[in-house]
């Protein structure tokens, strides 16, 4: 097993990881973004609190992520938790008989209140707005919903959905078996990727690391050589 790499601490305070998202002190710009969204936060007290917590965590995730990895471009808490998210991630798109890898995706996230109390289909949360012609077994043309599994349990955290989306788009997690009982959204893409498994994943870079972090040998190995 690969040793766990340490993550630089300069962004977002001393601790940097998903477990400490709630402790991240938002920068003034992000705090202002949060306040703007909270101005229209509506629903029952429980739901308002939950939407606030999720958006706070999304903004904290934006803050601790490497530059260009993740941005909350817009957020609306009027009814559902809605956000437009920009991800710095490798995304395969159809280009003739081959694929072109695009390094940026814009996702529409919609998290309804009912997700708190019942499982929803894996494609219930994200729609890929850009780029178009995404060539993945888990993405269906033309609406481009992104399927993250057969079922996503009640009250799943939005930060988990973002990481799952990152893994699915970069093909760090992928299901190309078109005969799987759960099915795939794009059978043609699944068959194409079965023939091109050597190109999977498109990136090995974890969400909270940079490409440079991945290229560097892990510290534990450096010490012993």
């Amino acid at each position: 097993m690969e040793p766990v790499r340490s993550i630089p601490e300069e962004r977002g305070g001393p601790k940097r990881g998903l477990a400490s998202l709630a402790e991240v002190k938002l920068t003034p710009e992000r705090a202002a973004k949060l306040e703007r969204a909270l101005a229209t936060n509506a629903g029952t007290l429980t739901w308002r609190r939950r939407k606030r917590r999720e958006l706070e965590e999304l903004l904290a995730l934006e803050q601790i992520a490497p530059p260009g990895r993740f941005e909350v471009a817009a957020a609306d808490l009027h009814s559902d938790l809605c956000a437009v998210l920009e991800l710095g991630v490798a995304v395969p798109c159809r280009a003739g008989d081959d694929i072109a890898v695009v390094e940026r995706a814009i996702l529409g996230l919609r998290y309804p209140e009912e997700a708190l109390r019942r499982p929803l289909p894996g494609a219930a949360f994200f729609q890929i707005l850009m780029p178009r012609a995404v060539w993945l077994p888990s993405v269906r043309w033309p609406e481009q919903p992104l399927c993250l599994g057969t079922s996503l349990g009640p009250a799943i955290r939005v930060r988990a959905l973002v990481l799952m989306a990152y893994g699915a788009l970069s093909m760090q997690t992928v299901q190309v078996d078109e005969t799987d009982s759960a099915g795939v959204f794009n059978t043609e893409a699944a068959l194409w990727w079965q023939r091109n498994l050597d190109r999977v994943p498109l990136s090995r870079t974890p969400f909270l690391a940079t490409d440079d972090d991945v290229r560097k040998p892990p510290r534990a190995i450096r010490r012993t050589t």
Partner: protein, 417 residues
């Protein structure tokens, strides 16, 4: 984009079906209930005639018609209520003969239909409606006229959903359950007069929510990308006596609730354990972390069919409009989704601004001709009022078959139908 004027799936929407009997059976005489009804006056209850009248006016829904629910339905039918609505998606299996009070010639029958026929035969004057599907498939209006719900489901998702609808509509809920190897039966009664009370999900811990998560999986094989839900429900392991015991206890609690006998049963749990031979009673408490929407809707009678109303009419009916409309106004129209826009070849989303059944065809892309469906980021059940054309009726916006609307503003919610 060429949006369709009307929803194509309107005719397929889940709804209740009335049970009728063959002409000969339909002519059966009403049993003389007054000959056997106890005089509860001696324990502070109403006179016999009034007691019978209270049951005769009662409309009961039974969610679950299995080992407990089937016995409950037959028992409540003997009270000759005004109506019984039965909801269960399952069929009678060979092993059902071990726990259900049914005969072998019922194998393969739909439980809800079978229970409905039994109820109708017992009480021909009762209006009996059935739905052979999961309660989640029905709109909230299916329970709108119900006075009390009997819940006896082995499906936690159905339990959560039923509890949610009963909170929203302010319907008392009596839930019966059992634990086979412990010889335990439990009946919980939820008042739901205010949304602030407890619900079935309030008692859930991590194990129960994990169970809810594992009960459902979705396959993306349905038409138009509609996910097909596969439910994995663990069957009830029990003896028949335990199921009947739970049903009988639930009916005793119902009788106490309807006639106001003894100490109040609302928001209480009664548990009998056959192994320890003890009975326990305690008050149910609201869990402030419960993810259910603990809000009772204010019921509003629509001045006309809701499809003939616009957003201003709806706000006026609810007493929160029409001018100005509350800034935080949202509305959910029946089981429809509002499609704000579609995304395809164009750089910008193309506006739609209409209601559709979820996953229905919305139109086609003007550039690539791809068929576009009502799903994704720009489609939602609960839509902000500022996105809906205030000068059009819901019918003009695609919701011609809408049966009800839930309007929300501030801390209030209104059920208009």
């Amino acid at each position: 984009m060429s949006p369709r004027a009307e929803s194509p799936r309107t005719a397929e929407r889940a709804s209740l079906r009335e049970v009728t009997l063959p002409r000969k059976a339909a002519g059966a005489r009403r049993a003389p209930i007054e000959a056997r009804f106890p005089p509860f006056e001696s324990v502070g209850g109403p006179p016999v005639a009034e007691s019978i009248d209270r049951f005769a006016a009662l409309r009961v829904a039974a969610v679950g018609a299995g080992s407990i629910g089937y016995a409950e339905i037959r028992a409540i039918a003997r009270h000759q209520p005004a109506g019984i609505t039965i909801i269960d998606p399952a069929r009678i299996k060979p092993e059902s003969l071990v726990t259900h009070d049914v005969l072998a010639d019922s194998l393969g029958a739909r439980k809800a239909t079978l229970a409905g026929l039994a109820a109708k035969r017992i009480s021909p004057g009762t209006e009996v409606f059935v739905f052979d599907g999961p309660i989640q498939a029905l709109g909230e209006d299916a329970l709108a006229d119900i006075d009390v719900v009997l819940l006896a489901s082995d499906n936690l998702a159905a339990e959560v959903h039923t509890g949610q609808v009963c909170i929203n509509l302010g319907i008392p809920l009596i839930q019966a359950s059992l634990h086979g190897e412990g010889l335990v039966v439990q009946v919980r009664a939820f008042e739901n007069r205010a949304g602030s009370g407890p619900c079935p999900a309030c008692a859930y811990g991590a194990a129960e929510w994990d169970h809810v998560a594992r009960e459902s999986e979705f396959r993306c094989a349905g038409a138009g990308g509609r996910p097909e839900e596969i439910r994995h429900v663990e069957p009830t392991v029990s003896t028949p006596a335990l199921g009947m015991n739970a049903a009988s206890l639930a009916l005793v609690q119902l009788t106490r609730l309807v006639l106001g006998l003894g100490q109040s049963v609302v928001d209480t749990s009664v548990l009998y354990c056959g192994v320890s031979h003890r009975t326990m009673v305690w008050r149910l408490k609201r869990n402030s972390d419960c993810p259910c929407e603990h809000q009772r809707f204010t019921r509003v009678a629509a001045p006309r069919r809701v499809s003939e109303l616009g957003i201003r009419d709806l706000a006026a009916a609810a007493g929160i409009g029409p001018d100005p409309l509350p800034a935080d106004l949202t509305l959910a129209v029946d089981d429809l989704v509002f499609v704000e826009a579609t995304v395809c070849c164009a750089d910008e989303p193309r506006p739609v601004g209409r209601f559709f059944p979820e996953y229905a065809v919305v139109g086609s892309c003007a550039q690539c001709s791809a068929t576009l469906h009502a799903e994704g980021f720009f489609a939602c059940r609960q839509v902000s009022g500022r996105l809906v054309d205030a000068d059009s009726t819901l019918g003009e916006l695609g919701a011609g078959a809408a049966r009800y609307v839930v309007l929300r503003a501030g801390d209030a919610a209104y059920f208009i139908h």
